[in-house]
Symmetry: C2
Subunit: 129 residues, 2 copies
Amino acid sequence: MNLHPIALLIEKADKAINQEDFDTVVDLYAEDAVLVIKPGMTAKGKVQIRSAMEAIAAHFDRSLDVRQAGMVILETGDTALVLARTLVSAKNFPVIERKATYVFKKDTRNRWVCAIDNSYGHEVLDASI
Amino acid sequence: MNLHPIALLIEKADKAINQEDFDTVVDLYAEDAVLVIKPGMTAKGKVQIRSAMEAIAAHFDRSLDVRQAGMVILETGDTALVLARTLVSAKNFPVIERKATYVFKKDTRNRWVCAIDNSYGHEVLDASI
């Protein structure tokens, strides 16, 4: 089965996150991308996203393991929405399943990049009340 | 409290859907927008979306009532992701709460339009197994 190009990018991102290869990670984001660090807190742009990724890696004692357990990609033109089941685990942390939502768009080089990374899905509403 | 322009568009869409004013509804979508009719089934473009909306209205015996009960809008540049709690009800149908996901983008006139309308959220994964 041929994977969608975006599925391959997410696989690459997960691998890079787990290996703490943050150069590869930030390369997969748009210049002005938004990352939900936790509900109610976001990072914007590659510099902030890199800092957030480093902090998250440290928080999980450098043992973070992120993987996808199923996804649907809804695509039109230069925009795509990914609905994913994301499994997050780490040393001394139980596996958490998140209902992640990612928006990808094509950049000026016609390459898919992540514009909005919200691994918390609708949990973000709990912080907005 | 000033509502986000996209929140106002969604309010306008809900009102138009409930009044079966489909001219107004399709005007809020991008030319190549994707609508999830139900998990595993999509409509693409204004003509298909209009037909789907008419079929949905008929299915609910012209008594459909759609409203949002909270939303978070994650925005960057010309792209936005909406996470919403959407309440769907109709005559002889109990109220259903959906975890909806909408992607908006700015069109060539710098106007926000809906590019991807997935009111089923992660339920789409159940149809992809």
